[in-house]
């Protein structure tokens, strides 16, 4: 695999940033990212990102959790360890409702959060973009664009970004 490096560019305005991302995509760069302190409208379109799979993950986990919770209660109380309490039915659907619901919510929430971590690649406390000292502002107020480029292409992309109106452009050396 070819060695890659990163080019980072800070933009002043949201419009300029999104236009620059769209332009680089036109030029054939695919490994782009936008970094901002708040979610930006239009970022997904500029980067050509598809819809997040998180809702589907949540649905599958939630339904499985609820079904699993119900089966657990039925199997434990009616099959594996039946106790006759005042001749009440061993399998009692109404009394299974609360725990079925809680199991569904618990499974869905855990899947959402750990699914989010997996999709974002967390935890990953080190990343080449952190090499640029100025990038610290990305989480506070500044708007940044990052492009992962093949070794040797850095200069061309940096030049393009400067032309597109970046306030500052930095390069991060190739990483093996």
């Amino acid at each position: 695999m070819a060695k890659t490096g990163y080019v980072l560019a800070e933009f002043e305005k949201e419009g300029g940033l999104l236009a620059a991302a769209a332009r680089l995509r036109e030029l054939g760069h695919r490994r782009l990212d936008i970094h901002s302190p708040v979610p930006l409208h239009g970022a997904d379109e500029a980067l050509g990102l598809r819809k997040s799979p998180v809702p589907l993950i949540a649905l599958i986990a939630g339904v499985s959790g609820a079904v699993g919770g119900y089966l657990m209660q039925w199997w434990m109380n009616a099959v594996d360890f039946p106790i006759n309490v005042g001749n009440r039915g061993l399998h009692s659907p109404p009394t299974n409702i609360p725990i079925t619901f809680e199991c569904g919510v618990l499974a869905a929430s855990l899947a959402i959060v750990f699914g989010l971590f997996a999709l974002c690649g967390f935890p990953r406390t080190h990343h080449p973009v952190f090499e640029v000292e100025g990038f610290r502002t990305a989480s506070m107020g500044a708007l940044w664009l990052s492009a992962e480029v093949n070794q040797g292409d850095e200069e061309a992309v940096a030049g393009e970004l400067e032309k597109l109106g970046a306030r500052q452009v930095s390069r991060v050396g190739a990483n093996p």
Partner: protein, 473 residues
């Protein structure tokens, strides 16, 4: 920044009310203001409060250890009042926690902008309150070291829990609630933890916050998953919070004791929980807002809206009291009538009952007046009275219903012991201890959400201006 709301109060639009964000601070300003409590040097006042909280926490651990060694006999519980402080405090604390979820989840779904500055605060309160709550049933087990028996795990005993018991429902409800609240709070914190990492001046802080930020880069790829994940968690937390206090109320409602056996319990418990939780948010946020100079992000509008919620939920709670009494009369059941019209109003615990009525029914009525809703001192005092009132409500429900049982021969009064009082005050201290750590190490108002709010308000301002100009032409 020291803009006070009073300066801008006189020329308010009556329909708009006070703003949810005073001024339009830029991102840097918001970061600086909201992170100030984290980056500033430790204050003496904070240390003093921490000292008090740690001493009370010590008292809690001492009293809990004493309970482990001596047994439940160290508490004032007896037969018939077998459920006393343990359950009163459990229900009280968990109810307090509910406002946090309401503010962060339900108000998010309803797109209420005023939730933004107070949600982190309220969620932290939820977490810490649920931690206190969960301690009580475990201590009350008698043999708390076997608490893990409550969970369905394959054991050599070959026994499974009995899921027809409301107490098992509690185990699942409370543990799910704690887990989901923790996840929701932590996910909400991620962008701010990254900002803390990036604004830190020391290497140690950078590493510590860097680990907790998990590598958040504010990337569009992160935000894309993050936004929907946060919204879905809010969507799940909303029915969850309603289910938790409903299940807590089932502990009582599915029994047959007069005073407990009523169908109004689930909604009335949920309303009471929100009522006490909002009161606790006010009790905590009013001093914190003052000390940290957060008046421009936690504005008059937030306090006034919370006062309105107190009034509304207070009325729901009052309605609950009314219906309980009506049904007791309407059912024609002698034991019900005795519980509701004799023991509560005239029994040995009548003063507690009347204190409950004063705090929960009478006190919130002052919030019909705008002057009261805008008076910070009145709000703070009322919030404390509501907390007291909601504690006495649980005392009334539990102790007065139990102490006059079916047979006069088994009647007995209940008196809490020093161990009971120590554990209660100890949990207040432990809660305070956790809260003080939260205020010191994490921004108590979400900077990333306030930044987003500012953009939304600016956007609205622009479209309003645009609408006005087209109207004029």
């Amino acid at each position: 920044m020291s803009v006070t709301t009073r300066e801008i109060a006189p020329d308010l639009d009556a329909l708009q009310g006070a703003p949810v964000l005073v001024g339009r601070p830029d991102d840097q300003q918001i970061t600086n203001d909201l992170f100030q409590p984290v980056w500033q040097a430790t204050r003496r006042g904070w240390l003093a409060l921490l000292g008090i909280a740690i001493s009370l926490t010590g008292l809690l651990f001492f009293a809990a250890t004493y309970t482990f060694v001596v047994g439940i006999g160290a508490w004032g519980n007896n037969i018939p009042v077998a459920w006393a402080f343990g359950i009163i405090n459990f229900v009280w604390w968990i109810g307090i926690g509910h406002a946090g979820t309401l503010i962060s989840a339900i108000l998010l779904l309803f797109q209420q902008k005023w939730r933004t500055s107070i949600n982190r605060f309220a969620e932290a309160m939820t977490l810490f309150a649920v931690m206190q709550a969960a301690m009580f049933p475990v201590l009350h087990l008698g043999r708390p070291w076997f608490a893990f028996w409550l969970f369905p795990y394959p054991s050599a005993l070959g026994v499974w829990p009995q899921f027809k018991s409301a107490l098992m429902w509690d185990v699942f409800a409370v543990s799910t609630y704690f887990t989901v609240s923790l996840l929701f709070w932590y996910v909400g914190l991620l962008p701010d933890l990254a900002s803390l990492r990036d604004s830190s001046r020391s290497r140690a802080a950078r590493i510590a916050y860097g680990i907790f930020a998990l590598g958040w880069r504010g990337s569009a790829r992160h935000w894309r998953h993050y936004r929907i994940a946060y919204l879905l968690l809010a969507g799940l937390a909303t029915p969850l919070v309603l289910s938790v206090h409903t299940i807590v109320s089932f502990d009582f409602a599915i029994s047959q004791l007069p005073g407990w056996h009523t169908t109004i319990f689930p909604p009335y418990f949920v309303a009471g929980a929100i009522f006490s939780g909002f009161a606790m948010v006010l009790t905590l946020i009013i001093p914190a807002r003052k000390v940290f100079h957060f008046e421009h992000v936690i504005t008059q509008r937030h306090l006034e809206n919370m006062a309105k919620v107190l009034l509304a939920t207070g009325l729901m709670v009052s309605y609950g009291y009314l219906v309980e009494h009506f049904i007791a009369w309407y059912s024609g059941n002698k034991l019900e009538a005795f519980a509701f019209f004799q023991t509560r109003e005239h029994g040995p615990y009548a003063p507690v009952y009347w204190l409950m009525i004063a705090c929960n029914v009478v006190v919130p009525q002052i919030f019909w007046w705008r002057r009261a809703r805008r008076s910070i001192v009145l709000l703070w005092i009322a919030s404390i009275l509501v907390n007291v009132g909601m504690w006495t409500e649980r005392f009334v429900i539990i102790v007065t219903s139990l102490h006059r049982d079916w047979l006069p021969s088994s009647w007995a009064n209940y008196r809490p012991t020093w161990v009971d009082w120590s554990i209660l005050s100890g949990t207040i201290g432990f809660f305070g201890f956790l809260f003080l750590l939260f205020l010191r190490f994490v921004p108590s108002v979400s900077a990333s959400e306030v930044k987003e709010l500012r953009r939304e308000l600016e956007h609205e301002g622009h479209s309003l201006d645009a609408a006005a100009s087209t109207h004029g032409s």
